[in-house]
């Protein structure tokens, strides 16, 4: 689509959507949000870019094949699940690390749950873009 307005607007909107998607991802642990919805919002950014500037440009901007992103995401999610093996817990049991934990402060928590969510984000992001790019290119 050759629309100057759309192309200029897309430049800002895509960036905004991508930042917002990361916000959604990180917020998701205790509040509405999470990897799935974050991945969808993030993919929307690139879909918009593909509509405005064409899939060739969008693929260039993405640098990596969307299939590879999805598969890497699957790998991260799986690794997060398998991690509990080393702690003698069941598959996918969340493992927590509290950085700077003191007696009255729990510190800064990092968990395998977050990595699982990042994996989901990438799987959704990659597979949606695979589908949309393929459909855009057929037409």
């Amino acid at each position: 689509m050759k629309s100057l307005i759309l192309r200029v607007a897309t430049r800002y909107l895509s960036a905004l959507l991508l930042i917002f998607s990361v916000y959604m991802l990180l917020r998701g642990h205790n509040e509405p949000g999470g990897g799935f919805i974050g991945g969808l919002v993030g993919a929307t950014g690139f879909v918009l870019y593909a509509i405005a500037c064409g899939t060739t440009m969008a693929r260039e901007a993405l640098r990596v094949m969307p299939q590879s992103i999805a598969m890497a995401g699957l790998g991260i999610a799986l690794a997060a699940g398998l991690f509990s093996f080393f702690f003698d817990d069941a598959f996918f049991t969340g493992q927590w690390l509290f950085i700077g934990e003191t007696e009255d402060d729990k510190g800064y928590p990092i968990s395998t749950v977050l990595f699982f969510d990042i994996g989901v984000y990438l799987v959704v992001f990659g597979s949606i873009l695979t589908l949309v790019f393929a459909m855009e290119e057929e037409i």
């Binding site: 299939q67 590879s68 598969m71 799986l78 398998l82 093996f85 598959f91």
Partner: protein, 500 residues
């Protein structure tokens, strides 16, 4: 304990990831073979534990049942997982000969492994919604495998396949919603207790029939089978072998599980319905096969017909009949996958699967002839092959409770099965090739020949072993049937101290 249950699931996913990133190199297919071998080991370990300790259950993420996702393995689940791994391993070797570099580049091996993971997951899960998720995993990956390569008839078959399966999925999901509304739980073990407390038992039967239709589409039961012969003759032969061996059997497994564990409140209605469906499935499938003239289409219709036998075992719902159903499931997966693999070899050396356009296989490739005869006769139920015992147990079980009609139908369908097997034999193997060529196995490169013939010979050996030494397998099936008929152990293992 739970890792015995998780590993047969995790390994195919790990393999899929590595196979995807190695898809441009020559290592992709080897990763697929090694991964399948590793799943075989993991599922053998699972089988060993289940044999030693009875039903085992694992709570994923340590969320206790009935709130979290439970993986359960009783003997039926364990044997299905093992047989999935065996089929997966055999076909992974076969793929090295068949799959072209282009299809590898498109991600064939990754999709194949994800499909195996989906099938394994469906056999292991103890949660109804999780079962739905595994069905989706299977559906998406199998659709990908069906249309990989993008020929016109592949797209045609793929659309029919995916549309009908989506309808079944929607029914399944609606059924899940309704039963959750009535009982407040989706954990299978918990459900089996909760259904007794439902006030409106009539409504429960309605939901049972919804599940029956949903799984019936997956299992290709009459009258919902027509997507199967429309799709199974189009993809690569290794793909259709896995589909033929495993996909419909997931539907059968789900039916057996649901109608022994959960929906056993109105046996008079549901199981009579199943018995009628089984009879029609057997007859229509075998008659459909008689009308076909394509190697793979004949075999596809035979899948439908054979599904009828397993459902017959479930519908009669005596212990002996369930023994037959379990035995039949295992026998059928091995034999059917093998026949599709043989069709692939016939296509490779004779140039087609259309029976009128090939011939001369017996004279120029006698080894293939023998390898075909073993599963073909086993399918028809010739002694001393595995199919004989499977059919014998089922027919004996029907006669035992004086269900003469279904016993007669089962015998008649067996006879008609021989008819279509001799049709393949009489057209593809005996007469000379219409183009005058001599299809020889030695025309294939040596590596490809080994990749093609090793898995076929291996599966044929399994058929013979089960046929000659049925005793341990029958004893095993008896124990599995005991567990199905009396789910107390299943329920107490899953629910722990929550069980009554």
């Amino acid at each position: 304990m739970s890792w015995y249950l998780s590993l047969p699931l995790a390994i195919p996913f790990i393999t899929a990831i590595f196979a995807f990133f190695a898809r441009k190199s020559v290592y992709g297919k080897w990763i697929s073979v090694i991964g399948s071998g590793a799943s075989l080991l993991a599922s053998a370990a699972l089988m060993y534990v289940v044999l030693q300790e009875g039903v085992i259950a694992g709570q994923m993420g340590n969320w206790p049942a009935p709130f979290g996702i439970t993986l359960v393995a009783d003997l039926l689940s364990a044997v299905m997982v093992v047989i999935t791994a065996i089929t997966g391993f055999a076909v992974a070797i076969y793929c090295m000969g068949e799959i072209t570099e282009r299809m590898e580049y498109l991600g064939y091996h990754a999709l194949f492994q994800v499909l195996l993971a989906g099938v394994t997951g469906a056999f292991l899960t103890g949660d109804l919604f999780n079962l739905y998720v595994w069905f989706e995993v299977m559906l998406i990956s199998s659709f990908g495998l069906l249309i990989l390569g993008g020929r016109k008839e592949q797209i045609d078959g793929g659309i029919k396949y995916v549309t009908l399966n989506l309808i079944s999925t929607i029914l399944f999901l609606s059924g899940i919603g309704l039963i959750y509304g009535m009982t407040g739980t989706l954990n299978l073990a918990d459900l089996s207790l909760a259904v007794e407390r439902v006030e409106n038992q009539g409504l429960l039967t309605v939901v049972a029939v919804m599940f029956m239709i949903a799984f019936g589409v997956k299992a290709a039961l009459f009258p919902l089978f027509f997507w199967l012969p429309a799709a199974y003759h189009t993809p690569a032969f290794s793909v259709s072998a896995v589909f033929a061996g495993l996909l419909t059997k997931v539907g059968v497994y789900a039916l057996i599980r649901m109608f022994t564990l959960v929906f056993d409140h109105d046996v008079q209605f549901t199981h009579t319905l199943l018995l009628w469906v089984a009879a029609f499935t057997m007859i229509v499938g075998v008659l459909g096969a008689a009308a076909q003239s394509d190697f793979r289409k004949i075999l596809s219709f035979h899948i439908v017909s054979q599904i009828g036998y397993m459902i017959m075992g479930l519908a009669l719902s005596t212990k002996f009949a369930l023994v037959g159903a379990v035995f039949y499931l295992v026998h059928h997966i091995i034999v059917k996958a093998n026949l599709f693999l043989i069709a692939g070899v016939a296509n490779r050396i004779a140039g087609s699967t259309e029976l009128s356009r090939i011939g001369g296989l017996y004279k120029s490739a006698p080894l293939l002839g023998i390898l075909f005869l073993i599963p073909a006769f086993s399918l028809a139920g010739f002694p001393p092959l595995s199919g004989f015992w499977a059919k014998y147990i089922l027919v004996a079980a029907a006669i035992e409770i004086e269900a003469w009609v279904i016993a007669g139908i089962a015998l008649l369908v067996g006879l008609l099965t021989i008819y279509s097997m001799t049709k393949i034999w009489g057209q593809a193997f005996w007469p000379a090739h219409p183009d005058g060529i001599e299809p020889k196995l030695s025309h294939m490169p040596k590596f490809q020949r080994w990749c093609y013939l090793l898995p076929i010979a291996g599966l044929a050996t399994l058929t013979i072993i089960i046929g000659l030494f049925p005793e341990p397998f029958v004893t095993f099936a008896e124990r599995a049937a005991d567990q199905l008929l009396d789910p107390t152990e299943y329920v107490t293992t899953v629910l722990g101290e929550r069980a009554p």
